[in-house]
Symmetry: C2
Subunit: 718 residues, 2 copies
């Protein structure tokens, strides 16, 4: 629709040559007053025009009664004016040829149906003039890298706008301001921070795309309440990954309550959370729970982009704190580094032999407070080959004022750079007693945290990045007979398919099923059972019956002709009683495949991200071993193995108590099902919606077998 | 050994009439200098005597060359002197008749074998003079309630010693000092704080006992690295529970690494962690991960001792923060309160209809910044009947400077008391921008946190208190034939018992087992199978074979005479091959009991806490559904149900997918096994050590049955 490509508008927004502040004033209790003041006080180098109906200057800046009469056309207009006045202002900006407008004002789609109509109106006014919008219901843009502050947050009242290498795009404005304030205090800084609000026009991904290409940004952080375009998100994530630029995200809506809250906030719909998380894992977007730990991890990653973290060395002046830290680290799935003999020998110059180990209780040293003992300890530990990262948990100690600076100096990568040789997190568990120590770190360009748990959360999220896989390259199994394009005739059409038909589709994709034949009467059932070999299973075959067990339509453990006859009669009786309307086609006689584990393998077409395959424990355990794995279809076999590895049932595949299940078979089944899913989703002309359930996939020690399945295919609704 | 009962010595330590500071100086860089200064500057009202070989006064206090020549016998002596001088000082104190000495000095049992010898020496010197010791390797005692500071921590350099109602006993000194510093900054305060160090003489429980009886202490907090006397701990916990005084604990050693770190720190052995946690649950000791959240919860409990917390109302000026908070709350097992219609109607005066709900985005209000909108919102929410507690997550907002005070004032229980009507936690996500707001809360005697996760951790720990059960009152089942005393002849003696003998012992305690008979040959096996009815199981019976499956000694699913014969021969062949030395007594023919679930029920004599019963999922799932429940023996049936309820397998007992297992039978089995365990542990003269495994207990829909078991009984080693 628009002819202004987002890239150009975003470039302009992030570094405008001129800015008009609509509704500017001098009153610092008002948004319009702060907008103007912040732009001035943080050193904006472009042309500022204040729009105010009655004043000639404001805070020394020339003011104009209307945007029509500014001396030049402003690149960007920013407005925090009452909601009823926004439409007129947007019309004026559009008429004047402004490239992009930022609407701080709230009460649009976030405030109900009437606001939503107004929101659509201003977007269409803007589009018709090739103007782009940020917001509404946002807090604008802060760009320390460009010294551009188009943001009225009170967090910017304080002096100074430290420049960092972390770019941050947030769907919440207040959160951006809050994090900005806290970040400055603990030594975290940004290249750019953008609040996108309701995303009526420009959205989170537009700014992420900018940050991927931005040389001032080393790591991208995002706060997400709902994605406007999930597939674009996935594509950009792949691009960021390929560019080697880490992307981190906090996304509310992990829980039902959070999703509901996010919806009331910016009218975002969370979608299927588990699929979103699966896509993030596949595309290496690191999810965290807290914005502050996200910014902290991003800052560490900017210094150590290639480092993988799992083995942690802890040191602390308090043995108690060190023990608590060790607990937190191991509880978070990290592990305490095991120092080499060389490290222990070096530490033994300063510590008693039993304490020359991880964690290092620097309070327990045997030598005095030489100027450098703790720094030297840190240096020794940083050289340890088993140590990926250091955690310095700082408690009260007589040398508190300088102990952190000593460590920072000891660990410098080289004299010219404050960057440490190995990642280190500084945590102050103390209160203001340590403020001198905190200042020492800030002066050295190092950040710190004030809470052990935060530091461990940072390390745990960092650790999770280590298990990301190389990009998947799914290969169609050679004996999968179909390809998506032009073979509609070979794929199931719309409809609901029972066990028999679904087995056929699965069979065409090479999924192994147990042998079965349809019996029309008892005698035939006995004859088939004899051919298949005992034990067998009997199941009712009826198009009208979906849940066969629920109507008494399944009998297992049939070891003899007599048992088959008895079971046949019972099934017919049960079904006539519980499903009198169903037409019984006969009874399916099946070889009884005895697995050690029942699994479930399903596939469907996710509304946001397309075809996916889902797999995990089945049977009675289905919700108890609740974790389920999700991969996009078609799936890469290595990814499937990696996902199985995270499930509680994994030990059964690895060899456990004499059980070692058929991993290759399960992976093969999941991959084949994923190709069927991908082909269905791609089926011309528009793809199909579908739900496929292989339940159960029986898994034994050296084989596995789908013993029941169902498929439902429908038209795609998007 | 000692004739000074701990209670008297502890009373004296906590409020001494006179104190000698051994090694006192004026140098504030030295421990002895700070010890003297802190005592003076925090308003100690007793008699201070400085011990210094060369000075007549120190900081205006009379000094004496030796403790022999002080004008009165000091109640308490405190020393932070070089380790080689400690023995002489203890001898002098003992000779002088000092009631108790505090040894700050480290490098005793914490520093190796030589230090451990010295530690034993000073304890025996003290005991022979009826003197008690605190430490060594501690940071002494801080009692704001009594204005007694016997602690050299730099955390006390700052002015002020706020008095709270939380008593804290810590095995780590630096941790105590650190928490003290942080606590003061965020509005938390103590009645007393005691650091017990190596616990060479007086130990954590001595001071907990004091706090249980102390009227100035409403809630007890402890940092534990290892218990000197676990049974005393359990007894005191029961006493605190009966006294209605909450007891909270952080205990390092949750993980292997933490336990190792705690051991290096104060030479404490963690023992079996799971048993410790089970005892804490039974006796209502609340375990937390972080000392700060422990003190925060304790402070809230002091205001709201009877409140149970699970339904939380959140409000925040940031919708994003509110959504994140909702996620954290639900992830922590709490739940977001569902406001009543009345609450929503009242909120709708201030918020758009879609936002008049939980969480409340106070930034989204439709009215201006009236002085009282947020306070009024809090008041409305506090009146909501579904809301147990409030969480105010504070972000940047134009009214930041006063918004927290507004809320605190609005929620006052009555005009004279700052205590709120309902529990509320204030969290500042901002940095220093909110310092005015923080001061407002401190002036009102309210504490705050600076991290959302901490607040949620406090609420989650509070919530966990709600699931504590009333004290157990185990009743011996009427048909349990034995009682412990005087019936040694009826209990198994020392030895290892195979399946057959263990079944007998279980049978005497009324545990249901499946029918079985011993067959000496194939024909007999077929005959027995015919009598028991098919299907049957065959198991090798041999005293020499413990793991029957491992030698191919078990065959299941035998449905016919032919299958029994075949299985008989295969078992004999397998056993001869895999265990050629074993004497085969015959084969046990058993009815095959088909359960839906295999459980394991075990019992043993825990070295720390005595007889316990352990139960959970068995079979292949034993480590996958890893959670196991532990109860002390004999066990109360209601406790057993409550413990089962926490296990992942619980849905199977509650009714799940057509499965509803025999809960009453499982509980009955666990209780009966627990009585056998209790009787074994109590067996005269000294009790027995033992390990009993019922594995598996097969559980079906309406019954359950022990189908295999083993027992090992030994002499008690303690």
């Amino acid at each position: 629709m628009s002819t202004v490509v987002p890239e150009r508008a975003v470039q302009t927004l992030m570094n405008p040559a001129s800015v008009a502040v609509i509704g500017a004033s001098e009153d610092q209790h008002k948004y319009g007053g702060r907008l103007l003041k912040m732009l001035l006080s943080h050193g904006y180098r472009g042309h500022i025009m204040a729009i105010n109906p009655v004043r000639e200057t404001l805070l020394g800046v020339s003011a104009y009664p209307h945007i029509d009469v500014t001396p030049v056309v402003p690149d960007v207009a920013v407005m925090a004016i009452p909601q009823p006045k926004v439409r007129e202002a947007i019309e004026a900006c559009a008429a004047r040829g402004v490239t992009a407008a930022i609407v701080i004002t709230a009460r649009f789609s976030d405030g109900g149906a009437e606001g939503a109509v107004l929101e659509r109106d201003i977007v269409s006014i803007a589009r018709s003039a090739n103007m782009r919008l940020v917001g509404p219901n946002c807090l604008g843009i802060i760009s320390p890298a460009h010294r551009v502050v188009l943001c009225p947050s009170t967090a910017l009242v304080a002096e100074g706008l430290p420049v960092g290498r972390v770019g941050f795009v947030s769907q919440s404005g207040a959160l951006m301001g809050t994090i900005f304030d806290k970040a400055k205090e603990i030594g975290l800084a940004f290249s750019h921070a953008i609040s996108v609000g309701n995303q009526a026009d420009l959205e989170l991904c537009d700014f992420v795309e900018y940050l991927i290409g931005d040389p001032a940004t080393a790591v991208i952080c995002t706060y997400i309440e709902g994605l406007k375009d999930p597939r674009r998100f996935a594509e950009l994530a792949a691009r960021a990954r390929e560019a080697g630029k880490p992307w981190l995200a906090v996304s509310s809506g992990r829980t039902q309550a959070g999703a509901q809250a996010a919806f009331s906030h910016t009218a975002s719909v969370a979608g299927d959370r588990a699929v979103f998380e699966a896509v993030c894992r596949e595309e290496h977007v690191t999810l965290l729970d807290s914005p502050l730990t996200m910014i902290a991890l991003a800052t560490s990653l900017a210094d150590h982009p290639a480092t993988q973290v799992s083995r942690i060395a802890v040191f602390s002046p308090s043995g108690g704190e060190a023990a608590i830290a060790a607990d937190e680290i191991e509880s978070a799935g990290l592990r305490m580094a095991v120092f080499s003999d060389a490290t222990r020998t070096k530490l033994a110059d300063y510590y008693p032999p039993s304490q020359a180990a991880n964690p290092v209780d620097t309070g327990g040293r045997t030598v005095g407070d030489g100027p450098d003992v703790v720094g030297e300890s840190a240096r020794i530990v940083a050289d340890d080959p088993d140590t990926d990262a250091l955690l310095f948990a700082i408690t009260t100690t007589p040398t508190l004022h300088r102990v952190a600076s000593d460590v920072a100096d000891a660990l410098r990568r080289d004299p010219a750079s404050p960057t440490p040789r190995k990642p280190i997190l500084y945590v102050f568990e103390t209160g203001r007693l340590a403020d001198t120590a905190r200042r020492g770190l800030l002066e050295r360009g190092r950040y710190f945290l004030n809470n052990l748990r935060e530091a461990v959360d940072v390390l745990a999220a960092w650790h999770s990045r280590g298990s990301y896989l190389p990009p998947g390259r799914p290969v169609r199994p050679a004996d999968c007979p179909l390809t998506a394009a032009g073979c509609a005739a070979h794929l199931p059409g719309k409809g609901t398919y029972g066990e028999g038909a679904t087995r056929e589709w699965l069979g065409r994709y090479g999924v192994r099923t147990n042998e079965e034949r349809l019996a029309r009467d008892e005698d035939e059932a006995v004859a088939i059972a004899g051919e298949l070999g005992y034990p067998v299973v009997l199941k009712v075959a009826s198009a009208g019956i979906v849940h066969k067990s629920d109507v008494g339509g399944v009998k297992v453990d049939l070891y003899s002709d007599a048992m088959v006859r008895d079971a046949y009669r019972r099934i017919v009786t049960n079904v006539r009683e519980h499903a009198p309307a169903a037409v019984i086609d006969g009874l399916s006689v099946q070889t009884q495949f005895k697995g050690r584990l029942e699994m479930i393998v399903g596939a469907r077409c996710d509304a946001a991200f397309g075809p996916i395959v889902v797999f995990g424990a089945g049977g009675v355990l289905v919700d108890i071993l609740a974790a389920r794995a999700i991969a996009r279809a078609p799936a890469d076999p290595d990814h499937v193995i990696a996902l199985l590895r995270r499930l509680p049932l994994w030990p059964l595949f690895e060899g456990y108590r004499g059980v070692r299940l058929d991993l290759a078979g399960v992976v093969d089944t999941v991959v084949r099902v994923s190709w069927l899913a991908a082909d269905l989703a791609a089926r011309q002309p528009a793809g199909l919606d579908f739900e496929l359930d292989v339940n159960p996939l029986m898994v034994a020690d050296d084989t596995c077998c789908a013993v029941d399945a169902r498929l439902r295919v429908a038209a795609r609704s998007d």
